[in-house]
């Protein structure tokens, strides 16, 4: 017998055993030599049920009393907190293994149940077994030849389709057996058995006690068990009826001491107390020969307690509660759900050597650096093994101690003892320091650190940066890496981890650094690029700026570009020439900018076109991708960093501002817009009129009303777009708002039109707004008013201001979209979790097939052409460039 928790427990047990065995192999069979490094791994885990024998054998104590502590507060022998089951109090020693708190893993105990009880998790198994085996002889209700036939089938199914298909097949077989009413082996007639949930079995209106059930299950021969998908060597059916109950170690149900000195016991201990108490009473009543009815009541109560001990969420039972009324959290609830053992503690781990704080931008650190505040840097440590060669400077760190930077916080002796460095211990530590010791020193400039922002949706959400120690209290990062982290600076926090082993550091440095993550495996383009000011800055620089040479050099130097010999030697240099100094001398590129002009870079000189989002932005344009391909990752982030700084500094030097005046329109433009609006509205009125007269023709597959709606929507959108065009025609291209729009840094022409002229139709679920009162949206309008105004068309612009009902409609759609976001996040999160769970084990094998861990082939070659997206250019091999290069004789 056994429980799911015990399945987990046993798992651990077996892991331990296997560990022990393997160790024995290492130390034992090879003779007397002891190898001081043995890296062994757990090879497999076998699951099974616990038999009564095993439960007794693995138990360290028999529990006989529900009392926990004696008067002195010392655990009672034979009680639930018996110190043979492990210790949870500091100072005490475990009676079984002699370990102290944290050393002793805890040991199982057991109680003998006065009467057997059914294990709730196996009720359905017991039910099928009872129904499909003979109540007299215990055989399956089908003849022997059928048994062998089915067994062969099962074997075949498992081979071909795996273990789950086998389970399915067993299910089908059992379904057909259940209805047989005569035993083919002994001829006994089978009575009808029903299950009264959760745990009562009834045969012909008479209850079968767990004692009888157990007797019947015992009769089922091993051979027949297999037909039910039970492996009798690990799970005999009668073990599903508990006669002995294992008591989990105290270490897994520690009590907590409240401030008042009172002890508060764990939920499990409470439940176990109930079980032991009732069990005790049942024993006494049995011995005293109490009447059957009392015995049965107590038996049922014991069944209830044991059932809720395993699972407190059984459908037909009221959950066991605390005195306060909140339900107890028992074994099943401990394991399952997001906060359960598996997902919370086993599949998710916690780490030390980590830090979290608010982030803020810093243009002047490199893209692959992270600014770490002094407070953090003096708390987190890097372990360094002492050798003859680094002894001297490590000594200095120790001398500095934990309070002076750069110092050290701990040392670890070769025997593994950790010692804190304080003013008192300093002298002694310095004296005893020798090669082999480990010094946990402060984090220094240049150390590698992992940087992460949740939600970690893709692998670029966790990258490694080099530490740059900075003052103040926030983590600093280059704004260029905001895109992969999806970070902004409105109060976002991020996490920082310091890798602690050489392997981890090597991996972080070779595989996780920002430059290695430049090309997104999602679409094969650079995910890091210029953003915001950097784009508009470079746009202005390459489009219209001409600077005196001196000023240009000053700009370049301030952007950290010291190599300015590429700048032509003339009085006034163009912005393009300034920009070109950043590019590699032999870089050639052809592309297009947002206006459709060709961007030509020849021998590192920008000949034509402007630098805008198409070429600099993240996820678009091949310029960065090309630089990456030719000059490598390192060079790319250097160049990108320079471009970024150049753009931003251009703005800080030459000024950039957006204002209300940018949306000003000349009078005739205003009038034209008004006229167009009026026209559109008149037309809509006409449409409504034809509709009312019943003369409107419907679109195919639509009702007349739907058609009208569609026509109005189209008309109004057209009007809005038209006014947008007028705005664009009249808006000054010189305004900084337009520069932002044109460079792609921020904003769209639509935004501008909405500010200057007309916000447009507010749509909910693809329709005009129609909810609200009976036949109207607001009481301000007449009933059945289909006019644009009453259905959420906002004809004013933001600058002009919305009138009250327009404002209301805007708020309506605003709320709607807010809700949409709130509902979408968990939905997409669940989809993601499912995808990740289904696909996480797939990998490319050495033969370039994609397989799952059991070796089944998912794809014969990855993506049909084996190409890794992050090594491609937007998902493809760029044949055209190769042809051009060959023909132009460049390679």
């Amino acid at each position: 017998m056994e429980s799911k928790k015990e399945a987990a427990e046993e798992k651990e047990q077996e892991v331990k055993e296997e560990f022990a065995e393997e160790k024995r192999d290492d130390y034992g069979s090879e003779g007397n030599e002891v190898v001081d490094f043995t890296l062994k791994k757990v090879d497999k885990i076998t699951f099974g049920m616990l038999s009564p024998q095993i439960i007794r054998k693995m138990a360290a104590a028999k529990i006989v009393t529900p009392e926990l502590y004696d008067k002195e507060g010392y655990p009672v022998d034979g009680g639930l907190m018996d110190i043979r089951l492990g210790v949870i109090d500091p100072g005490l020693r475990c009676k079984t293994c002699g370990g102290k708190l944290k050393e002793c893993p805890g040991h199982f105990g057991y109680i003998d149940l006065a009467r057997p009880v059914i294990h709730i998790s196996f009720v359905s198994l017991v039910y099928t077994l009872l129904k499909s085996t003979c109540s007299e002889c215990g055989r399956v209700l089908i003849p022997d030849e059928m048994v062998t036939k089915y067994m062969d089938e099962l074997e075949r199914v498992e081979k071909e389709q795996g273990i789950e298909a086998r389970r399915e097949h067993i299910h089908n077989i059992i379904a057909s057996i259940k209805t047989i009413s005569k035993c083919p082996h002994c001829g006994a007639k089978q009575k009808k058995i029903t299950l009264e949930k959760p745990t009562t079995f009834i045969e012909n209106d008479k209850r079968i006690t767990p004692v009888d059930i157990r007797a019947r299950l015992e009769k089922i021969p091993d051979k027949d068990c297999e037909l039910f998908g039970i492996n009798p060597s690990v799970a005999r059916p009668e073990w599903a009826i508990l006669t002995v109950l294992p008591i989990p170690p105290v270490t897994m149900r520690p009590s907590i001491t409240l401030e008042s000195g009172e002890r508060s016991e764990d939920d499990l201990t409470h439940k176990l107390g109930d079980i032991v108490r009732i069990n005790q009473r049942l024993f006494e009543n049995l011995n005293a020969g109490a009447p059957e009815i009392i015995i049965e009541d107590l038996w049922d109560l014991l069944q209830y307690h044991i059932t809720t001990f395993f699972d407190n969420k059984v459908a037909q039972l009221p959950p066991a509660r605390h005195r306060s009324g909140q339900p107890l959290k028992t074994l099943a609830e401990r394991i399952s759900s997001k906060e359960g053992r598996i997902r919370h503690n086993l599949a998710g781990k916690r780490t030390n050597f980590s830090s979290r704080t608010v982030i803020s931008p810093d243009l002047f650190i490199k893209i692959n650096e992270v600014g770490v505040p002094m407070d953090v840097v003096m708390k987190l440590t890097v372990p360094v093994k002492v050798t003859e060669w680094n002894m001297n400077y490590l000594r200095k760190y120790i001398e500095n101690g934990p309070k002076i930077y750069p110092g050290a916080n701990y040392i670890v002796r070769p025997d593994g003892k950790k010692k804190k460095i304080t003013d008192e211990t300093k002298e002694q530590i310095l004296e005893e320091l020798e090669p082999g010791y480990v010094v946990e020193r402060h984090v220094l400039d240049g150390d590698i650190a992992l940087f992460n922002r949740q939600p970690s949706l893709h692998k670029m959400s966790m990258m490694s940066h080099h530490v740059r120690v900075l003052p103040y209290k926030t983590f600093r990062l280059n704004p260029a890496v905001c895109a992969p982290y999806n970070a902004d600076f409105d109060g976002d926090e991020m996490n920082l981890h310091i890798p602690q082993t050489e392997e981890a550091r090597a991996e972080a440095e070779t595989l996780l650094q920002v430059q290695t993550q430049l090309i997104s495996p999602r679409y094969g383009l650079s995910i890091i690029g210029c953003v915001q000011d950097a784009i508009s800055g470079n746009y202005i620089l390459t489009k219209e700026l001409n600077l005196p040479r001196k000023e240009a050099i000053s700009l370049l130097i301030s952007a950290g570009i010291t190599e300015v010999s590429g700048l032509p030697k003339k009085e006034v240099v163009s912005g393009r020439e300034i920009f070109s100094t950043v590019l590699p001398k032999d870089f050639n590129f052809r592309g297009r900018d947002r206006e459709g002009n060709e961007v030509v870079i020849e021998k590192g000189k920008l000949k034509s076109g402007v630098m805008d989002k198409n070429n600099l932005g993240e996820g678009s344009g091949l310029m960065l991708r090309n630089i990456h391909k030719i000059y490598g990752a390192e060079a790319t982030i250097n160049i990108l960093g320079k471009i970024f700084m150049l753009g931003t500094l251009t703005l800080t030097r030459y000024g950039f501002s957006t204002g209300l005046a940018d949306t000003d329109l000349p009078k005739d433009a205003r009038e034209e817009i008004d006229r167009r609006m009026k026209e559109a509205e008149d037309e809509v009125k006409k449409m409504i009129k034809t509709y009312r007269e019943g003369k409107l023709e419907a679109f195919p597959g639509r009702t007349v009303r739907e058609s009208l709606e569609l026509m109005i929507l189209e008309k109004l959108n057209e009007a809005r777009n038209l006014s947008g065009e007028i705005v664009l025609k009249h808006a000054s291209l010189k305004s900084d708002t337009m520069k932002m729009v044109n460079s792609g840094a921020r904003g769209t022409t639509l935004n501008l039109a909405q500010m200057a002229a007309c916000v447009g139709q507010q749509a909910m679920r693809g329709k005009r707004i129609e909810t609200g009162f009976t036949d109207r949206t607001l009481s301000y309008f007449k009933r059945d008013d289909l006019s644009p105004d009453s259905r959420g068309f906002i004809r004013h612009g933001f600058k002009e201001g919305l009138n009250p009902f327009e404002f209301f409609f805007m708020a309506t759609t605003g709320r709607d979209s807010l809700m949409d976001t709130a509902l979408r996040t968990p939905k997409s999160g669940y989809l993601y979790r499912r995808l990740a769970n289904a696909l996480q084990d797939l990998k490319v094998e050495y033969d370039y097939t994609v397989r799952d861990p059991s070796g089944k082939i998912i794809q014969f070659s990855y993506g049909e052409d084996r190409v890794d997206v992050s090594k491609s250019e937007g998902g493809r091999i760029n044949v055209k460039t190769i042809i051009r290069d060959v023909i132009e004789g460049k390679s």
Binding site: I335, T510, R702, M711, G829, R834, L839, I858, G863, I887
Partner: protein, 398 residues
């Protein structure tokens, strides 16, 4: 050296994927010399070789990330109107979820019916569309009347609709008789009179018969509730709401090669697993593209392949792909852990610890990427004695 151009290509055909060869052929300027072509092909080959995904690459998780991450940016609950008169289609996140769930019934089934040559005049397309659309008896019946005194059902027919269909009352009765039982139907002028076939049947049976008649299939293809001819390029395509691939493909004017449905299970049932895989890829890609997002087709391909490689379409759910993993712990870590642990204990299931989660659980390196290489190192401890073999885990650099 007299080598033909085709020989040059032939040499590389075995090496380079056909699609790349195609691309080269297309992009090649005319009159390129053979040597140059050879050089180009060699370069393409090298380039292709160097962009292979490396062994151990965790392509599965990358695919999951690539689809899951943009999921947060997709719209919910938006129906889509491309053009004025198109019909409602599920788009965005709900559609992706629907596809990956491997649902039996989808929310908005649709078909795109391509037509053979010779059917591309406006008139003919209209005619075709009319033929496809399902007509239910309710649409051509003006009125039902239950006469309690005589215990019969009087049906008045809409003669205009009948004419459109070219149907006579007698024929209608014939059709209805096939589909509806428990009532005797007779024509009487412009009416049809139905009497219950059992004598003492109550008003209830009349009512039931009425509903049955209303839903009886009269003409067209079952399941096609709406038709809409759409001009695509210079040909017409009939877009329908509701799908019935098997029946549509039987019609003689249908181009069976291009006609498709957006129902993956139906595609699987009618055209088989390869078609289903392609359908999943197409549909998912369409949605993502629609939302203006950029996800490489390879990721979608991998998801489609995981759903289809067993030979049937399986959803990414606890009943589908995830529920069929070999590892107990991997299954338990997803959903319903208790169930998986209990079942595993019954058969003494072994977890071979070959996939990711289990190894995370027991704090061991994960068998992906840098955790994959296993290095055998021979360590000579004491030179005199026999040399021992030790297995250690090695870190391999990419």
């Amino acid at each position: 050296m007299v080598t033909k151009m085709s020989d040059v290509f032939k040499e590389y055909e075995r090496k380079i994927p056909p699609k790349l060869i195609e691309e080269v052929k297309e992009a090649l300027p005319p009159k390129t010399s053979r040597e140059r072509v050879k050089k180009i092909l060699e370069h393409v080959y090298q380039e292709w070789l160097s962009s292979w995904a490396e062994p151990g690459e965790s392509v599965g998780l990358i695919a999951a990330e690539s689809i899951g991450e943009p999921g947060t940016q997709m719209t919910l609950n938006t129906f889509h109107f491309a053009g004025v008169a198109e019909m409602n289609v599920t788009v965005g996140l709900p559609r992706i979820i629907e596809i990956l769930d491997g649902r039996q019934k989808i929310k908005t089934p649709m078909m795109e019916i391509y037509l053979k040559k010779g059917y591309h005049q406006k008139e003919k397309v209209r005619e075709v569309a009319r033929q496809i659309k399902e007509t239910k008896a309710g649409e051509i019946i003006k009125e039902f009347e239950i006469n309690i005194a005589e215990m019969n059902l009087v049906i008045r027919i809409d003669e205009d609709e009948m004419k459109k269909l070219g149907l006579k009352p007698a024929e209608l009765v014939k059709i209805l008789k096939k589909g509806v039982r428990g009532i005797d139907l007779k024509t009487e002028k412009d009416r049809i009179i139905g009497k219950p076939s059992e004598k003492d049947a109550g008003i209830n049976s009349l009512y039931k018969a009425k509903e049955k008649i209303r839903n009886a299939h009269i003409a067209g293809v079952k399941g096609i509730t709406q038709v809409l001819p759409v001009k695509k390029g210079d040909e017409f395509v009939v877009v329908t709401a509701g799908t019935n691939l098997a029946e549509i493909l039987k019609l003689e004017f249908v181009d069976t090669y291009r006609t498709k449905t957006n129902d993956i299970k139906e595609t699987y049932a009618v055209l088989g697993i390869e078609a289903a895989r392609q359908a999943i890829m197409d549909e998912v890609f369409k949605v993502i593209e629609d939302q203006g997002l950029n996800v490489d087709i390879r990721h979608i391909m991998l998801v489609a392949d995981t759903m289809c490689f067993s030979g049937t379409v399986k959803g990414i759910t606890r009943y589908g792909v995830v529920g069929e993993k070999a590892s107990v712990l991997a299954r338990a870590s997803f959903e319903t852990p208790i169930k998986h642990l209990v079942n595993a204990s019954l058969i003494g299931e072994e977890d071979p610890l070959k996939s990711v989660v289990e190894n995370v659980m027991i704090n061991q390196p994960v068998p992906l990427g840098t955790g994959l290489p296993q290095l055998s190192v021979t360590l000579a401890r004491t030179p005199k004695k026999t040399v021992k073999k030790k297995k250690t885990k090695g870190k391999a650099k990419k």
